[in-house]
């Protein structure tokens, strides 16, 4: 399905915030204005400026583009945050990674120029979070900000500030368990700097609202310890964090278009290109530009957010599959079980380097709704594909495990090129039924 901009609704400039109008490109603005005036003159159907639920995303290498540490296959957008209640103490931050594998907004402290209010517990102690990702950890205080992206906004959004000098991610002190559990401070798994993360922040728009949920409200051994009460930076204890205080996917706090997102990226001709631009569209079936159309709905389980992927079914049954726009490649099995050779250069560890493009196929099945879809995909030679200038590589694959048995099938950003992907949030109402699900 190709995206059809809605030229109908948004001609009504009066219902759009000024910032949205400013956000339009000059050419689009001109088209919009011309469209409106001609419609008013002719009395015909209202003309068609873009609606306010579309944020531009760009696979452009991110803040470290042009260096060997560019974020290949990362979709970046920009967000505006303000001190809650203020319209002047605001900051627009670009280089924000759009991530369907996490939930909530996280900003690197080094790029944050605002002083945001610190969330505190009932004893007035700061709340500091340990966020665990498939590839590492984030550590830093929970603060609140008014959030705007495209024409959508969320007031007093709890966010995580990563790499805060006030709460350093050291191996000792308050961050000990968080850092140790994930390889330690200063390793490649330490995501608390722009240099390490390769992004200025993460916008988690996956299948859940909060990044923890009710488990983090529990006491004692039932609490997974994601949220911490830190009287000082070096003395933190697990905190009971109310759901409403948790770092949350901002989409659920929008006034409309709040049931999920659509990610649209064009296909990449010949497998790689410098930059790809697309859209992060808010809402599913809420506007004329985010309908499900013929997309196949695969429900995901409500604890992990996964469907089932069957690949090489004779050898390996179904596995936990997930669509993760923040993963740079399709990560599945290993060289021994796929027959795809691993790259010889240590700088390309874990990636596949077949001599010629390998055309493969897998089947994705809904967790419980009986739907399934066959996905044909290609894995090319990573060493030949990755270079300093091409940031979008649609045929990049890598090993998901070291051992001859899958733990998961990680459908990273290469899956998203040329396919509109819908991500419905747990408990949300959509024209395709209740979330959580993915559809494409």
């Amino acid at each position: 399905m190709s995206r059809k901009p809605n030229w109908k609704i948004a001609c009504d400039m009066t219902r759009k915030p000024l910032r949205q109008v400013i956000a339009l490109s000059l050419s689009a603005l001109l088209i919009a204005l011309v469209g409106c005036s001609s419609a008013q003159l002719s009395g015909g159907p209202p003309p068609p400026p873009p609606v306010g639920n579309v944020a531009t995303i760009s696979v452009n290498g991110g803040p470290l583009a042009g260096t060997q540490f560019a974020y290949g296959n990362g979709a970046f957008t920009s967000v505006t945050i303000c001190v809650p209640g203020s319209t002047t103490q605001c900051q627009t931050i670009d280089g924000i990674l759009v991530d369907t594998g996490s939930y909530g907004l996280r900003i690197e402290a080094s790029v944050l120029t605002l002083s945001l209010p610190q969330q505190k517990d009932s004893s007035n102690n700061p709340i500091v979070e340990c966020g665990e990702f498939g590839s590492g950890f984030t550590w830093g205080p929970v603060q609140t900000a008014d959030f705007t992206i495209a024409g959508e906004s969320a007031k007093s959004l709890p966010i995580q500030v990563m790499g805060s000098p006030s709460f350093p991610d050291t191996d000792a002190g308050g961050a000990t368990t968080c850092a140790s559990n994930n390889g330690g401070a200063g390793t490649t798994a330490d995501l608390n700097s722009v240099q390490s993360l390769g992004a200025n922040g993460i916008l988690g728009v996956g299948n859940f609202a909060e990044d923890c949920g009710t488990a983090c409200t529990q006491s004692g051994a039932s609490n997974p310890g994601i949220y911490n009460s830190c009287p000082t930076a070096s003395t933190c204890v697990s905190a009971n964090e109310p759901v409403a205080s948790q770092v949350v996917n901002p989409v659920v706090m929008f006034s409309t278009d709040k049931n999920g997102v659509v990610i649209e990226l064009p296909a990449v001709a010949n497998g790689e290109t410098t930059t790809v631009n697309g859209s992060l569209i808010f809402g599913i079936g809420t506007e004329s530009n985010n309908g499900l159309g013929n997309a196949k709905i695969l429900d995901v389980d409500t604890s992990a957010g996964n469907f089932t992927t069957v690949f090489n079914a004779n050898s390996f049954g179904g596995d936990e599959g997930f669509l993760d726009s923040g993963s740079e490649a399709l990560f599945f099995l290993n060289a021994a079980t796929t027959g795809l050779p691993a790259c010889p250069d240590p700088g390309f560890t874990q990636l596949y380097c077949p001599a010629t493009n390998a055309n493969l196929s897998a089947t994705n099945e809904g967790f419980s709704n009986g739907n399934s879809s066959t996905v044909d995909f290609t894995v090319g030679n990573a060493e030949a594909l990755i270079n300093s200038s091409d940031n979008a590589i649609s045929i990049l694959g890598g090993e998901g495990v070291a051992t001859n048995n899958a733990l998961f099938f990680d459908w990273g950003l290469p899956f998203f090129y040329g396919t509109n992907v819908f991500v419905a949030i747990d408990g949300a109402t959509t024209p395709g039924g209740p979330g959580p699900y993915v559809a494409y």
Partner: protein, 153 residues
């Protein structure tokens, strides 16, 4: 000898007392019970000819499986849950090797990818996404000869 009430009580008492052993991977089976006590978890044991699996379910939703050889050694661990388990406890004496391996890993062209350590003394792999974190670790030379690693997950 028929079990007397006293010996039964003694056996129960042994199981109920938190053991001081904290090591897990590479440790002996009693370390599993230390995990159970610390996590306030339930343990389910299954066995085959080659090994015993102690599945520890914590109230956090984290499930850890510890694979114990007939010699009584934990040769592999696997986990899944909304967070990683306490790896310092789970990896025991191999925790330092895990940290050291990651600290010497150089950044590659990959930024966000599953984590691998594939050394002769320790294999560890972990990945997933927020709210679904999964991993596996084992000591290659402790794995019983007739065990296929495909079984470990």
């Amino acid at each position: 000898m028929k079990p007397t009430l006293l010996t039964v009580v003694a056996a129960l008492f042994t199981l109920a007392v938190p053991l001081s052993a904290q090591a897990s991977l590479g440790g002996d089976v009693t370390s599993v019970h230390a995990d159970q006590a610390k996590l306030q978890a339930t343990v389910q044991t299954t066995a085959n000819d080659a090994y015993t699996v102690e599945e520890v379910k914590a109230p956090t939703g984290v499930v850890v499986r510890e694979y114990v050889s007939s010699a009584g050694k934990v040769f592999a661990v696997a986990w899944q849950g909304p967070v990683h388990p306490d790896l310092q406890q789970l990896l025991g004496s191999y925790f330092q090797a895990y940290k050291q391996a990651l600290q010497t890993q150089k950044p590659t062209h990959l930024r966000r990818a599953p984590i691998f350590i594939n050394q002769s003394g320790l294999v560890l792999e972990m990945g997933g996404h927020m709210r679904f974190l999964v991993g596996r670790a084992y000591i290659p030379n402790l794995v019983p000869a007739n065990v296929q690693m495909e079984e470990i997950r």
